[in-house]
Structures are given as structure tokens and as C-alpha cells.
Point group: C4
Chain length 258, copies 4
């Protein structure tokens, strides 16, 4: 295999499509959002490209005993409610810095092949604490785009995210701008500790307005409920531990007394 | 030396051979199996290729003072009881992700040179606990092959191995499928903590049926007995420690009493 | 994007310019100095080149929601008080060893394009303790240059810095000398624990004399005062802790008494 | 700078020279030996080549304020007492696996340029304890050479060194053999914890006999005496600590009593 290979799985007619990227990252927000999109628009979607690269981990995934080489996938979506989409997903990020640059360049080549001009990269931004209201933070390559995204509910904050945006989601903006793409990153706030379907929903609701989409959220809400249960149990355990530690003397107490 | 060099050590007549790979990994199952195969079929085996690569660790092994550069070896085996074999072994895996891709491609080139169409990669799958009955888990590139392997005793499980298959064993399936090879991975269950000759035997018994082989296991069973002794001693020590800790007060107890 | 790309942002007329480098490093001395230089000579400065590289971290920085791809910047400065300058700054160093060599070569190419012969790399040298008097340690490629720098207040010490100079600051001398540049590194002493504007000022004062510059230091002194406040608070806290530990018996004391 | 560059510093007439390598490693045995060799044969030595590489750490060393780019050096030695030598030394090893292969290939190219057929790589083999009698362990590419080295006092042991030989010292044998060189590695036993001039002397005494050399050891013995003093002080401190811990009750004792 060459360093990078793009398999043409199928061809598809898409009209002025928007590239939407959701690869693994903080809170799995990007992948959850992209996969939910494909699930909801299943009948309008066609897998058109697979991208293989030596920069991906050297492994196969196994489903029902069948091995599939690690890759990124691009689906074409004929969107009945708005602009057509190219949806980029996958199970892995590149494993080296240079690999992120190489893969992003390949993704932009495919976007260019389909005459895409607009890009949305989806992800999470870690806050370090559990979230009540899920804000969506934005970053853009072109100042002009900020207003319309603010109308769609995106917040632009002076110094956030403080560490910038790392990986393909960031480079789609950084390398994209250099090649003339108009790119935006939508980042759902998330604790950073847990897979976060609610944050993915917040991001998708912005996307619905930005590109014209009409999504149902039943399956994503179900996953969110499951996560709520998990969080509830963790909090319960923590409270019990705190109570116990207030009631009983600790080893250290005993040692001082001893 | 170039990035990768293949030395032609000898030529060999093999008829429609199957590539069998056993490189270092979990429980050394793959290497134990491949080396036992070569030991048992010593008279029918010829070392035909050595593969050197900058991706291997930069070192020589020393035996009786003689230095040998790290490499992978391929033996041709004229199998009197079934299909001829190419057996791929070695002491090391590649040291980088890209190296795994590069080496696997080189191994597939050699397989193609000998008009191989079928591949078996051998390895172990860690269970985290000591094994009583050694199941062999399978993964294939072509669904059609699953049935015949199930008849040979291989189990195919819905989500196993959960983390996929990493390294050359995985990529022989992943890259192999892309080049038209029909590949299967046979993974013996193993604790993951110890070198496991019993798991290697379980894997070889499947291979015996799959490609037609008639192997003796005396030397492998001997090594298994030695490992049993080791395990027995470890368990004894653990039991003694547990008894002692039940009979005697510990430091912590004393501190509480103090 | 290629492995390395240089964007021509603007052209500038500079006469026999000196390259001054200040990239991130110990105490941020180099970046503080280079950025202060550009701030003070703002009206005489033009951003002329941006250097992008796969060796930089794969990320964008965000300011007011606008994404900028990680890069190094080169400004041309028409210096009214002495020699013209090319000032090299940036937020990141290369992430691999080979990357440092590649980026430094690219920087030297740009220096050569503007017919630069002299280079100053600016940085900090860690002492491990808080500094009262900020000495500036020097290293040069050409012994002849040592005398004039000593006159400007630079100290040359027999075995310092003991570990040599690592990164672009070092390689501008090492690779620069091989290409015929006359390069010097000016290293301000700094504790190594804190961002150090005072050390940056010490380095700039040497540079003022070496290339002919007339800088105000108000903004840098302000930042130094802020850092003094931080240091003062840390020392206060440490003293309080020491006093407490002298007055009160510790855990260990209590245990012996127990 | 290219990935690897060889500077021709001077030319030298050498007759059928032996390549002797001493780069940093266990106990600094190799570098100590090679540097002592050059010191003792100073008048017969000429620096002929410098090898620069992106695989070396990106740094300059500073001596009296003068910067020198990290490199490996090759001196030609006109040996009045035996075979002429090429002595390879340096302050650094390559920083990646592939780098070791690349640098060793470059060193072998230089050896070939001077029509060298024989190679000695010098190093240390760690024993984990302080050494009384310094044995020298050997490894060779050609069995025939073992006898003559055994006569010179080298020991060949069945399974040593167990982990093989890593880095340039190993690859000079591994890659050297593939290119027709006759190479041997001489490894002085050393604790592995300290710089070990005595081990370097043991290795050099073998080399004296192997290639015909007549070396004085005053300066190396002096360094060995200095190290002995250091070891003596460490041992004294350890004994005092042991005595104290025998005489005084420890924290743990007191806690039990408490």
C-alpha cells in the first residue's frame, strides 16, 4: 500500500455539497454527530470514498469475524431539506503530527473533487465540569461567516478555545483557508470526561439551521439518557464516599491519637 | 542498506503454498506455533528469504559470539500431508506504525511471488485470566471462509477481539484483502501474562485441519509442562501469602490497635 | 500542503539586514524579546513571510473566533538607528529532531534571499534559582566576533551552557556557520521556572548596542513588575509554610512521640 | 542541510586501515577508549571527516563560547606499531531507529572509501554490579575470527549479551557483514551505573594485541582513580546508613511499639 490510498467505492451526484467532518475527539462529540447524521439520512446516503493511510494505526477492526482495514469514510448525502452533504467519519485519527497534515490534505482533495466550497468540522470543547446548558463555540476562517453562525446560535468568545483546535478539525480550517475553502468549526461544550450525546445534539441543531436539515433525535436522546444514568450512579457513589469519610475516623486520625 | 531489503537465501519449489505467519505478540502464541511447525517439518523446510528493514530495532542478536542482523525469515515447506507452506517468523515487530504497513506489504510481495492466494496469520488473544479450555477465535477477509474454519473448530464471536487485530497479523488481512488474498487470523485464547505453548498447540490443531498437516506435539507439550510448573509455583506462593495475611495481623491492624 | 511552504505576504526593502530570532524556549526570553522589538518598532515593521510546516503541531490558534494555521513569521524592520532587521518569531517549535533541522534550513534560505550575513538568536539559559543581576551569556560561530560582543556586555564562559544550545537557536549557529553566516546566540540568565521579561530586557540591551537600536522598555518593565508580584506572593507563601513547620510538630514528630 | 552530509576536513594516507568505533553507550566505555586512543596517538592522528545528520539531536556544543554543530568525527591514525586506524567518535547517537541504520551505512561508506576490510566496535556490557576483574566479551561476524580474539583475551559466551548489541556498535557488525566487512565488537564488562575508565582500558588492551598498538594508560588510570574515589565515598555513605539503621529504631519500629 502507498502512504495514502483513496478507494472510489461509488460515484454520487451531489450539488454544491458542504463537507461535514466528525472524527474521534473530546467527548466523541464529532463522531456521535456525524454518525447520527448518517443514521437519520440513511436512505439519502451513499458511501463514496474510503481513505487508507499508513498514518492510521496498523490494525483491522473485526465485526462478526470479518476484518476491515482502518480507514476514514466519506458518504454523499442528497439532502431533501437543504444543501447536499459530504460526511467524513472514521474510527481513528492519524498517529503523528505530519500524518494530520497529510490526511487533511487528502480530505480537502476529495472536497475539491466534488466542488465543495464550504466545510463544517464538528467536535467538542472540554470545560472540565458537567454541563447544564450546552453552548456551541465557533471558529471560522472568514470573519464574514461569523454573523450568520451567531444567528444560528453559535457563540464566538475572545480567547476560546485557549489551546486552539488540534487535529483534522483544526487543520480543515487552517489548511482549508490556504486553499480557498470557507470553513467553520462547531464545538459543543462537554465535560471532557464522558461520551456526550447531548453535546452532539447541540452541535447538530446548529448544523440543521446552517445547512438546512431536519433531523429526529430519538436515538441520540436515548444514548444521552443512558449516559445520564451512568453519571447519576457515579455521583451517588461519590456522595456516599463523602458521607462515610465524614463519619468515620481515618487512618491518619488514629495515628495521631495512637 | 535501503529502507527494506529482501535477501534471496535459496529458491524452492512449492506448489500453491499457503502463507503462515507467526511473529512476536500476546503470549508468544504466533512465534511458538510457527517455530514448532518448522521444527516438526525440519527436513521438509528450506530457508528461502530474509527480510531486513530499518523499521526493525537497530540491533544484532548474538549466538555463540556470532552476530546476526535482526530480520524476518521465510521458510518454504514441502508438506507431505497437505498444501505446501511458506512460514514467516522472526524475533521482532516493526517499531513504528508506518513500519507495520511497509513490512506487511513486503511480506505480501513475497507471497505473491510464490503465487500464494491463502494466508493464515497466527496469534494470541488475551483474556486476562488463566485458561482451562483453549478456544481459537477467528477473523477472515472473506465471509465464505468462515464456515470451513468453524468446522475446523474456530469460533467467530460477534465483537471479538474488541480492539481489533494490531500489527502484521492484522494487516495481512487488511492489506491482503485489498490485494485479493484470502486471509484468516487464528487467535488462541491466552491469559496474556505468560508464554503459552498450550495456546500455540490449540492454534496449530486448527491449522492441521485447515491446510492438511500431521504434527507431533511432544516438544511443545514439554514446554507447556514447564510453564505449568511455573504457574503452580506462583499460585502456591500466592496462597501462602493469602493464608499468612489471614492469620497474622498486618501493619494496618497494628496501627489501628496501637 | 507540502512538507514546508513559505508564503510571501509582502516584499520589503531592507539594507544588509541582521536576522534576529526569538522562538519559544526557556523563560520565553526569546519570544518576549522579539515581540517587544516588533511592538516598539511597529511603524517600521512589515510582515513579509509566513513559514508553514508539517513539523509544527497540527493545530490552529483562535483569536476572536478566527482560525490561523500555526506558522513562524518574519517581519522586515527599517531601523532608523542602526542596521535593518529581519525578525523571526512564532508560537511553536518543530516537534521532531529532523524538523528543527528542516525549519532552520528554511529560515536560513529566507535570510540568504535578503542577503543577510549576520544572525542573532535570542534565548534564555536556566540557572535554577531566582536572578538578581541578569547576565547575558554568548555563543558565536566566529571567534572574531567575541570581542565586540564582550564590549556590549556579553559574557563568554568556558563551559556554558553545559548542555549546548538546543533547537532553532542552536542550529542557526550550527547550520548557519556551515553556510557562511556569522551567527551569535545571546542567552539571558533566567531561573527557568517563570516567564522572564527582565531577562528579555537584558538580552535586548545587548542587541541595542550590537546592531544599533533605541528601544523603550515601559511595556516590558510593566510585565516584569507583574511577574515580581507573582514571585513575591510565592515567596511569602513559602516563608509562611516554613514558619509553620518550625512552630508546629509535624506528623513525623507526633509519630515518634506516639 | 541534507539528511546526511559528510565534510571532507582533510585527506590522509592510510594503509589497509582498521575502523575502530567508540560512540556513547553503557559506561561510556566506547567513547573513553576511542578518545584515549586519539589522545595517546595525537601526533599520528588527522581529523579527516565530519558526519552531520538530521538524526543527531538538533543542537550545538559550546566550548569557550564557540558553537560546533553536533557531528561524528573520523580521524586517520598512522600507527607506528601495527595497522593504520580510522577512529570514529562523537558525542551523540542517532535519535531514531532508522537513524541508526542510516548513520551506520554512512560510516561503512567512509570505511569502504579507505579500503578498510576490518572493523572493531568498542563498547560496554552492563553486569549490574561493581566489577573486580574486567572481562572483555566479544561478538564477531565471521566465526574464523573468534580464535585469534580468544588468544587476545576476549571471552565468547554462549548467550551473551542476552539482549544482543543495540545501536551503531551492533549495526557495524550486522550491516557490515552484509557488505563483506569482517567486524568484531569488543565489550568491556561494566556495572552500567558509572563512567568506567577501567573497562575502557580492558577493551584497549585487547585492541593493542589485535591490531598492534603500544599505548600508555597514565591519563586513563588517573580518571579511573578519580572514579574509585567517588565509588569509595558512595560505599562509605551506604555503610553509615546501614549502621544507623541497625542501631536506631525506625519509624516502623516505633509505630509497632506505639
Amino acid at each position: 500500500m502507498d502512504e495514502l490510498e483513496v478507494d472510489v467505492v461509488a460515484e454520487a451526484e451531489v450539488d454544491d455539497p458542504v463537507l461535514v467532518e466528525g472524527l474521534p475527539g473530546v467527548g466523541h462529540v464529532g463522531t456521535l454527530a456525524a454518525e447520527h447524521l448518517l443514521e437519520e439520512l440513511d436512505e439519502e446516503s451513499t458511501l463514496i470514498r474510503r481513505v487508507y493511510s499508513r498514518e492510521f494505526p496498523p490494525q483491522v477492526t473485526i465485526e462478526d469475524g470479518i476484518a476491515e482495514l482502518t480507514c476514514a469514510s466519506i458518504h454523499a448525502v442528497s439532502n431533501p431539506d437543504g444543501r447536499d452533504l459530504l460526511v467524513l467519519t472514521g474510527d481513528h485519527q492519524a498517529q503523528t503530527n505530519a500524518g494530520h497534515y497529510g490526511l487533511t490534505s487528502a480530505f480537502l482533495d476529495i472536497a475539491a473533487e466534488f466542488e465543495t466550497t464550504d466545510i463544517y468540522s464538528l467536535g467538542g470543547v472540554p470545560t472540565g465540569e458537567l454541563i447544564e446548558e450546552y453552548a456551541v463555540i465557533g471558529a471560522v476562517t472568514d470573519e464574514a461567516r461569523r454573523d450568520s453562525l451567531e444567528e444560528a446560535g453559535v457563540e464566538f468568545r475572545e480567547d476560546e478555545p485557549a489551546g486552539g483546535i488540534v487535529g483534522v478539525s483544526g487543520l480543515l480550517l487552517g489548511l482549508g483557508a490556504r486553499r480557498g475553502f470557507d470553513a467553520a468549526c462547531l464545538m459543543g461544550e462537554t465535560s471532557g470526561y464522558l461520551v456526550d450525546p447531548k453535546s452532539a445534539r447541540a452541535v447538530l441543531e446548529v448544523l440543521e439551521e446552517a445547512v438546512g436539515l431536519d433531523l429526529a433525535y430519538d436515538s441520540l436522546d436515548e444514548r444521552a439518557d443512558e449516559m445520564e444514568d451512568v453519571i447519576g450512579k457515579i455521583q451517588e457513589m461519590e456522595q456516599q464516599q463523602q458521607q462515610q469519610s465524614m463519619e468515620l475516623p481515618t487512618d491518619d486520625d488514629l495515628r495521631y491519637i495512637g
